[in-house]
Each structure stands twice: as structure tokens, then as C-alpha cells.
């Protein structure tokens, strides 16, 4: 058996740090004990509101972090191009795998570079985009002017085009020298090929491959170095709330200074959140949080799970995202209810794995998991269960680890280097028919128990779902025991486990923390702990509505605050 390594080395203590160091050792590793106590400590401390005199709804003084350089993700690239040039522009490129750092793609964007292969792909995509918009049948849509003859270079027209699209692509007005540079290229190219549109197209291709487009390079405000510049604010706000580049109205608000006022900011925030693009931002966040990029690595044994296919894998992700968006946006629902809700969407391919009927032949059926079925909550969706399993069987450890890390923001350390697995491999044997039996060694061997006692129990709760998520009552003939205890709250079935997860004190906090990191693209800085408390209290007060959380973040002073002296913590988090 192969435990997946946690994604980065080193220890992570959850949100508390060395304050809670314990001064004694047991046979279990000290680390494990610290982790256990930290969790207990966490639960106790955050059970109440109104700490340290900070009012539940008042933001503490802003702290901020360093300005970042963030690479566009594939979805952001596509959304930006679609917004600027229309949704029918073809984008033909092989986007590479997104980088995960500190468990988030959003943080990885602040660390990812662009390799030669990547740049070549961006250039290819740019060529396709340019070919499309300058095609004779399309160009009228994209140009407001034209030269007298196709072979002539029209400086005024070219300038207009470059300025117009350049500013949208670079997300700020071009400097005169930038305009001049691209204009000169357009002129030279036009002369070389004797075709204005080809020449201008090549200049546009340059804009599409430029670092100012592919990277979000944050700048501080010239007058006020503790704050992002207006255009950087617009960028950060737009990618946070729409997962795409700022639109004209937002750029105008930045230009006019409206974005620097509370009213102006609020107006933009409301506008963006009520647009149809808000959903994309939520999807990007949850796809990041739920680690859907790991589906690319996923294989399932074809003999054991014949119903699982690439179509099922794609549908599974879409099912969860649709379910989440419907609940959080359309229904303005409580985030915690995501762990118990039965409303969902299914396709026929999914129906085979869930063993539920789906009348709609092509496409999505909006439906509800039946009362007598054992599915409820996103932790019972195939997108969670199948992803955190082995190719040939389920895995309480992988699932338990994922529950801890994804939904509760609790880090689980790596296994020790000298682990011996031979006691665990016999899966068909009668002496250890269920996973719980096989993992007994985890819980009795001292070097393992520390972490496995934390990791496995949530996974056992889900053992009734096999390696792809189909319900089973038994494993190898023995009835599965799904009972356990989630940090003090007992459960005896997956449904009860879902309720325990819903009510867990870390559940709400975890999504707050994660949403903030998603918004800013870096881990939380030490001094932002109080800001986190503020957001958490506000989240609770607003009945755990995620859109409200996003509004609170976007409207907070801390969101746009820059602390240029802040040292970037590589790999550590609070």
C-alpha cells in the first residue's frame, strides 16, 4: 500500500504554532502529540466569539502582505480571452499542469514560472486567436477602423487597436513607450509582409505573449505604498470575484479613483458579484480546494471498477461544482450544509456508479439523492470518494487525510521513512476482511498511531463507499463498521459523519482561511490572525454564506493592503 505523501515537506501545526509546544514525550512521536493537542486546543479556543475585545463585526487594523507576481491559470486565461474577444474565439494550446503550493493552486500561481514549452503553447494560442479576429469575415467585429488599402499601414488605426486591446490585456493603460514599441513592430511587420492585418496581428500576438499579460504583476500605489495601486486593486478584485480580467467598467473605476473610495469599491463589488461571472470564481475556488487537478493522475482498475471511465471522472467533478454553486449562490445556502445536502445533479454515466436512476439521456438531471440512499453531502460525491482512493480499493487513510486537510485545514505529517507495509497487503484474506481490520497495525504501532489516529477515523466513516464511490454493505463478506468519532463527536453511519463534519468547529474556519488565501494568492501572514478571526466571526454572523464571506474579504481594508517588508514564508503556514 502506498500512502500518498503530503504535498510539501516539513511540519505544519495547523493554525497554532510553537506556543502550544508540550514539554513531555511519550512513545508516540512528540509531533503527533503536539498535533493532537493542537487540535484539541483549537477547538476549545475558537468555540466562542468576542475574543480580546475585538467586536465580532469590526475589522482589526490592516496588515497585508507583499506584492506578488501571479501567473494566470488556464481558466483565467480562457475567461480573459473570452471576455475580451468573445466566447467563440478558439484557444488551441496544451496548458500545463497547474502548480500547487501550500495546498492551493491559487498560491502556486505566485510561484509558477513559464517554461519554454509553456511559452510555445501560449504563442500557439495567440496565433489562433489572432487568426480568428483578423479573419476577413470577423475583423469588423474587432476593429473600429480600417486602412485605405490592406497593404497600407495606418498608424492611427493601429494605435487605436493596440491601445484598446493592449490595455485590456495588460489590465492597465499602456505607457506611451509600450504603445510606441508595439506600434513600431506593427509597422515593420506590415511592411515586411505587405499586409496591415497580418502586421497588426503579429503585434497583437506579442501583446498576448508578453509577461504583463501572462503574469499579474502587482504594484503599490505611488502615493500610498501601503496599498495596491488602483489598477492592481482592480486586478485583484476582478480575478477574485470573477476569475477573469477586469472589465471596462472596473478599469474605468480604477482610472477615475472611484475604486479607492468605499462607495466606489462597494459598487464594483456588488456589480461583479451579481454578474454571471461570479459563478466562475466560485468554481475556480472549489476546484482548487477540492484538488480536482489530481484527477489527471487518477487511474482505476478496469476489472474491479468497470463503470469508471474518463467520462465519469469529468462528470463527477462537474456534479460537485454544480451542486456547490446551486446551493451557495442560487439558494444562498449555509456552507456547512454542503456536508449534508441531498440536492445534486446527475448524468447517466454517474447514475451507473451511484446505482441511481437518471432519466435524462444526454446532459444533466437536477435531482435529489433519495431518502433511503446513503448519499448526502459533497464528501459522499464520487469526486471526493474516487479521487481519494487507490486504483483497486478504497482508502480510509487517504480519505481521512483529505477530510482533515481539505475540509478542516488540519495538516497531517508525512509517514516515517522506515515504514514496513507487509502486514497490510493481504486484502483478500479472511483474517483481515475490512480496511479497518487491515489498518489495525496503523493504530497499534506507536510510530504510526500518532497520525493515523487522527487520519483514519474519518476515512472509516466512508468505508461503505468503495474505491469509486459505489455503496457497499460489506467488504469481503464482513459487514462494514462505519462508526467512529470526529474529535469528540460520535457517529455510526456516513450520514451521521456528514453531520459531525457539518458541525465541526473547524469546518467554517477552514473555508474562510482558504478563501482568503485564494483571494490574495499567498499564505496568511502571522499578523493577519486577528483579521482571520474577524472574517470568521462575520462568516458565522452571516449564517455561513460564502458570497457574504467573499464580499467581506473584498470590502475589507486588509484585502488591498501591502506590507512590502513582509518576508514571504516559503512553505510554512500558520
Amino acid at each position: 500500500m502506498d500512502l500518498r505523501k503530503s504535498r510539501f515537506g516539513g511540519l505544519n501545526f495547523g493554525r497554532q504554532t510553537a506556543q502550544s509546544t508540550v514539554g513531555y514525550l511519550t512513545r508516540a512521536s512528540a509531533i503527533a502529540v503536539i498535533v493532537i493537542l493542537n487540535l484539541a486546543g483549537c477547538s476549545a479556543e475558537f468555540g466562542t466569539s468576542d475574543r480580546n475585545g475585538v467586536s465580532a463585526l469590526g475589522e482589526p487594523p490592516p496588515v497585508g502582505g507583499p506584492p506578488l507576481v501571479r501567473r494566470l491559470t488556464e481558466s483565467q486565461y480562457r475567461a480573459t480571452i473570452a471576455d475580451i474577444f468573445g466566447p467563440d474565439v478558439p484557444i488551441v494550446a496544451r496548458f500545463g499542469r497547474e502548480l500547487r503550493a501550500d495546498n492551493m493552486i491559487a498560491i502556486g500561481t505566485s510561484k509558477a514560472g513559464i517554461s519554454p514549452f509553456s511559452l510555445e503553447q501560449y504563442d500557439n494560442a495567440a496565433a489562433g486567436i489572432v487568426d480568428f479576429i483578423f479573419a476577413p469575415e470577423n475583423r469588423a467585429r474587432f476593429m473600429t477602423c480600417e486602412p485605405d488599402a490592406d497593404s497600407d499601414f495606418d498608424e492611427q488605426c493601429a494605435r487605436t487597436t493596440i491601445e484598446h486591446y493592449g490595455s485590456k490585456l495588460f489590465r492597465r493603460p499602456l505607457r506611451e513607450e509600450q504603445i510606441a514599441r508595439y506600434l513600431e513592430q506593427a509597422r515593420r511587420s506590415t511592411e515586411l509582409v505587405a499586409d496591415y492585418y497580418v502586421g497588426l496581428g503579429l503585434a497583437l500576438r506579442g501583446l498576448l505573449s508578453a509577461p504583463e499579460f501572462l503574469f499579474r504583476i502587482e504594484e503599490v500605489d505611488e502615493q500610498n505604498p501601503d496599498s495596491l495601486s488602483a489598477f492592481s486593486k482592480a486586478e485583484r478584485l476582478s480575478f477574485f470575484l470573477t476569475n477573469s480580467a477586469p472589465d471596462d467598467a472596473l478599469l474605468a473605476a480604477a482610472e477615475s479613483g472611484a475604486l479607492n473610495t468605499a462607495e466606489g469599491l462597494e459598487q464594483q463589488v456588488e456589480r461583479l458579484m451579481s454578474s454571471s461571472k461570479f459563478e466562475q470564481a466560485l468554481r475556480a475556488f472549489f476546484a482548487d480546494m477540492l484538488e480536482f487537478d489530481l484527477f489527471e493522475d487518477l487511474t482505476k482498475d478496469a476489472q474491479l471498477y468497470p463503470a469508471f471511465s474518463p467520462v465519469v471522472a469529468l462528470d463527477a467533478q462537474e456534479q460537485t461544482l454544480k451542486t456547490i454553486v446551486h446551493h451557495l449562490v442560487d439558494q444562498q445556502g449555509d456552507y456547512r450544509d454542503l456536508f449534508t445536502l441531498r440536492e445534486t445533479f446527475l448524468t447517466r454515466a454517474l447514475g451507473i456508479v451511484y446505482q441511481l436512476p437518471v432519466p435524462t439521456r444526454n446532459g444533466w438531471e437536477q435531482t435529489v439523492f433519495p431518502e433511503d440512499s446513503e448519499y448526502a453531502g459533497i464528501q459522499s460525491h464520487l469526486s471526493f470518494l474516487a479521487l481519494h482512493s487507490h486504483p483497486g480499493r478504497s482508502s480510509p487513510s487517504l480519505r481521512g487525510k483529505a477530510i482533515r486537510e481539505v475540509f478542516l485545514c488540519q495538516e497531517v505529517p508525512d509517514p516515517p521513512a522506515n515504514v514496513v507495509f507487509n502486514a497490510l497487503v493481504d486484502t483478500g484474506g479472511n483474517t483481515m476482511p475490512t480496511a479497518r481490520d487491515r489498518l489495525h497495525a496503523h493504530n497499534s504501532e506507536p510510530a504510526c498511531a500518532g497520525c493515523h489516529k487522527i487520519m483514519d477515523p474519518p476515512g472509516y466513516a466512508l468505508e461503505n463507499y468503495d474505491g469509486v464511490g459505489t455503496w457497499r454493505d460489506t467488504e469481503n463478506g464482513a459487514v462494514i463498521d462505519a462508526s467512529g468519532n470526529l474529535d469528540g463527536r460520535p457517529f455510526s453511519s456516513p450520514l451521521e459523519f456528514g453531520e459531525a463534519l457539518r458541525d465541526h468547529p473547524e469546518t467554517g474556519k477552514c473555508v474562510v482561511e482558504r478563501m482568503y488565501r485564494f483571494a490574495v494568492g499567498r499564505d496568511i501572514v502571522w499578523y493577519e490572525r486577528e483579521y482571520m478571526d474577524y472574517l470568521i466571526e462575520a462568516f458565522k454572523a452571516r449564517e455561513y454564506k460564502v458570497p457574504s464571506l467573499m464580499r467581506d474579504i473584498a470590502m475589507s481594508e486588509n484585502f488591498f493592503t501591502i506590507d512590502s517588508d513582509a518576508v514571504r514564508y516559503e512553505g510554512a503556514s500558520l
Binding site: L99, V193, G392
Partner: protein, 442 residues
């Protein structure tokens, strides 16, 4: 500084092949550039072609038991064992009918080549060889079609009313390629496409922002931007190659007119004619008379015959009982195997022409396929597909990939992308796909 992590693979270990969800076999991530040009650094054109054999294969003798690189070459593919590294075997890719009636030997072939399953010959889209030729052909012939059993048909269609007919006679082919109108490749003059010069210039302009950007950002970010600008320089260097003239055609020897051979469907004659025409085609490719070709070794309703046996390959597939001991049809298997010998002959013809650092085959992408898998059932699921050559370094080969009932349009999409077409999705209706076969692309 590369901060990209390596992925791990979770493979199924029990009994059957694992279902990959878009996984490459190699434990590698973002490769640094697929070298689109020969290792010599000279520009050698990449050619595309298809090679069709009719009436499918015997699965027990054609589909390797293992996937990946270390598969045991199955019985009927032993003739091409010598080309293992240059071959990608693709099994288990389907034409998805989803309600369209299956016209035997037609729906499968056109479904594979146009991306849309049709119940007749009224194609609803051009075959992919036509799309590729439209994009890359800058030669005397847009494409060359030939057929080796005397049947003039081809499966290269621009639209329902415009099929490209095949040359059936070796002598006629010779005169068409090397007779009047033949252009000596080394005499052709080369003018670099000014677009490439312009594009190079634009990329240098983008570089000019480097200093300003570096000054703006912190130390860690400077390293990342540095990587970006290094990548930009590499892109410029690739463009520079396009400004060079194509590599001179060395070792070209004008072929002699072929002997007159009977042109019919009798196996020995077909094999012989196929060898002659393949050799002529290889020379024509070598000296840039065309970049796209389509070979119909045997028609989809294969009319191949054995001397002394009254039935054709096709009628045998329906007529011949399954041999109790073998578990398949013995005579049919003979024809299936002969088709693979012929495929080997075809590869020999391309591989015997030295070009650049390797051979003509290295600079080709040849897609061999049939019209069905099990001929007696006209099964369009699991149509056998093979890809040969390296497309000038753009594709990877040497493995067997199981399609696991994925639509065969993934193959058509991927070969078009490998040939440089800007296409993100291909195929229609039940077979529309945007899922590239990443294992094939460098």
C-alpha cells in the same frame, strides 16, 4: 528555477489494464519544447499519410496483452517488430454510433476519418487528411492517393461529392509523379516567409520590457521572470529556423519506370504492386512532390484473394466458420496477417530513404487503420489503429495504448494537432471530442 512538482502514478495492479484518465506513460511533466525540427537543426518538412487495410484484425493475434512500452509483440504484428520504437499501437478506440445505423465497412471507416458516424457515404465533413493537406500542402501535389488492389476508390473526401480517386496502376503512378511536370527539388528557390521575420522582431520587442519589469519585482519573482525571458529567447530561436531554407534533398535517385505487373486482387500481385507503389511514393515524398498521401492497401470490403480459393477476404469473414481449436477464422487470419506483412513493406519503403539524421520515416506521421475490428460482426468498436514515424520529433512512439472505449476521434484530433493544425475540438455529435491523446505528443 523549476518549482514544478513531479506527479506520481497510481496504476492498477490487478489483472486487467488500468483505465488512465488522460495520463501519459512517461513520468515526465512539462517537457522543454518538442523539437519540431530534425536534430541537424535543418528544416525538413513533416509528412502525413494514411494506410488502410480492410476487414479488421483478429484481436487475439493483434492486440498486445500489455499496455505501455514493454509489451510483447503479438503474433500478427511480429513482421513489424523491427519498427517497435517507431510505432504506437492504439487499440480499443471506438466509432460511437449512438443510434446511427452501422453500414458495414463504411460507417467505421468514415467515422474514423471524418469524426462523424454516417450511415452511408454522404460524408458530413472532410476527412482529416484533407484538413491536414489544406494546412500544410505547399507542394506540387496537394496529396497523392493510391490503391493496390485495382480499386480506384479512396477514403479521402473533401465533401460528399468530392472524393479523391486513387491511382491503381504503378506505371501510371510513375508517370504522374516523375513524368512530365516533375520538379527537381534541389533546383527550387527558397524565399523565407516574411511573417517569420516579423514575428521574430515582435518577440524581441517584448524582450525590451525586461529591465523595467525586473526592477519592479522582488528577488524571488525576478528568478521566475528570468525563466520567462529565457523561454522567450528559445521561442525566437525556433523562429530563426523557419528562416532557413529547407534541407537540401540528398541521396535522391530518380526511379526507373516499373515493370508491368498484373493489377488485380490476387495476394501475390497485390503485395508486389504495393511494394512498387510504396517505393515510388517514398521517392516522391523525399523530393517534396507531396506532403500528404493516402494508401488503400485493401478495400474495406477487402477483395483480396488467394489463388485456389474462390472466396475473397471479405466473403470469408462472413462465410468461414470459427475454427474450433483456434477460436477464430483461420483463412481470415491469413489475410489479416498478410496485411501486416504489407504494412511492414510500407514502413520499409519509407525507412529506406535516408533523410537528415535519420530516415524519411522519422519525418512522417503515418496513420494506419482498418474499417472495423471484428469483420464478421462489422464491429466499429476497437478499430485497430497504428501510428508510425516521429513527425520530425513532434510525436512519441514505441508503446501500446488501450483506448478503453474512448471515441476514435481522439486519434484524429491528436494527429491534426501533431501536424500543427490549430484545432481544439474535432468530430461531431456523439463523437465530438477535445481530449488530445497526450501520450502521443511530445
Amino acid at each position: 528555477m523549476k518549482t514544478l512538482s513531479r506527479r506520481r502514478f497510481l496504476r492498477g495492479t490487478m489483472k486487467g489494464a488500468a483505465i488512465g484518465v488522460g495520463l501519459p506513460f512517461l513520468d515526465s511533466m512539462l517537457n522543454d519544447s518538442g523539437k519540431a525540427f530534425a536534430a541537424t537543426g535543418q528544416r525538413i518538412p513533416v509528412r502525413f499519410g494514411t494506410w488502410i487495410w480492410g476487414c479488421g484484425m483478429i484481436p487475439e493475434l493483434w492486440v498486445p496483452k500489455q499496455t505501455g512500452y514493454n509489451y510483447t509483440m503479438p503474433e500478427h504484428l511480429k513482421p513489424v517488430e523491427g519498427y517497435r520504437d517507431k510505432l504506437a499501437l492504439l487499440s480499443g478506440f471506438d466509432v460511437k454510433l449512438d443510434g446511427v445505423p452501422n453500414k458495414p465497412h463504411v460507417t467505421g471507416c468514415f467515422g474514423l476519418r471524418t469524426g462523424i458516424p454516417i450511415p452511408d457515404r454522404q460524408v458530413k465533413a472532410p476527412t482529416f487528411d484533407v484538413l491536414i493537406a489544406d494546412a500544410i500542402a505547399d507542394t506540387r501535389f496537394r496529396s497523392v492517393e493510391l490503391s493496390t488492389t485495382g480499386m480506384q476508390r479512396s477514403y479521402s473526401y473533401r465533401d460528399a461529392g468530392s472524393p479523391n480517386p486513387s491511382e491503381v496502376n504503378p506505371l501510371a503512378l510513375y508517370h504522374r509523379l516523375f513524368g512530365e511536370g516533375f520538379q527537381d527539388p534541389n533546383q527550387a528557390s527558397f524565399t523565407p516567409d516574411p511573417r517569420y521575420m516579423a514575428q521574430q522582431s515582435v518577440l524581441s520587442a517584448v524582450q525590451e520590457e525586461r529591465k523595467a519589469l525586473m526592477a519592479k519585482v522582488g528577488a524571488a519573482d525576478r528568478q521566475r521572470l528570468d525563466e520567462y525571458f529565457t523561454s522567450l529567447r528559445e521561442l525566437e530561436q525556433k523562429l530563426a529556423l523557419q528562416l532557413q531554407p529547407p534541407a537540401p534533398v540528398k541521396n535522391f535517385v530518380m526511379p526507373e519506370p516499373p515493370e508491368a505487373n498484373p493489377v488485380d486482387a490476387e495476394m501475390a500481385n497485390v503485395i508486389e504492386n504495393h511494394k512498387i507503389m510504396a517505393s515510388l511514393l517514398a521517392r516522391a515524398l523525399q523530393c517534396n512532390q507531396t506532403k500528404v498521401f493516402n494508401v488503400l492497401f485493401s478495400d474495406t470490403t477487402s477483395n483480396l484473394r488467394r489463388p485456389g480459393v474462390s472466396s475473397t477476404h471479405h466473403t470469408l469473414t462472413h462465410e468461414e466458420p470459427i475454427d474450433r481449436e483456434l477460436g477464430y477464422q483461420r483463412e481470415v487470419a491469413w489475410f489479416a496477417e498478410q496485411s501486416m506483412f504489407a504494412w511492414r513493406d510500407f514502413l520499409d519503403a519509407l525507412d529506406s530513404i535516408p533523410e537528415g539524421d535519420g530516415t524519411l520515416l522519422d519525418n512522417c506521421l503515418v496513420l494506419a487503420h482498418s474499417d472495423c475490428s471484428l469483420a464478421h460482426a462489422h464491429a466499429v468498436e476497437g478499430i485497430p489503429v497504428m501510428i508510425a514515424g516521429n513527425a520530425g520529433g513532434r510525436i512519441k512512439t514505441g508503446f501500446h495504448l488501450a483506448g478503453n472505449a474512448d471515441p476514435v476521434t481522439r486519434v484524429g484530433l491528436t494527429v491534426q494537432q501533431a501536424m500543427g493544425l490549430n484545432v481544439e475540438t474535432w468530430g461531431g455529435l456523439s463523437m465530438a471530442t477535445n481530449r488530445t491523446i497526450n501520450q502521443l505528443l511530445v
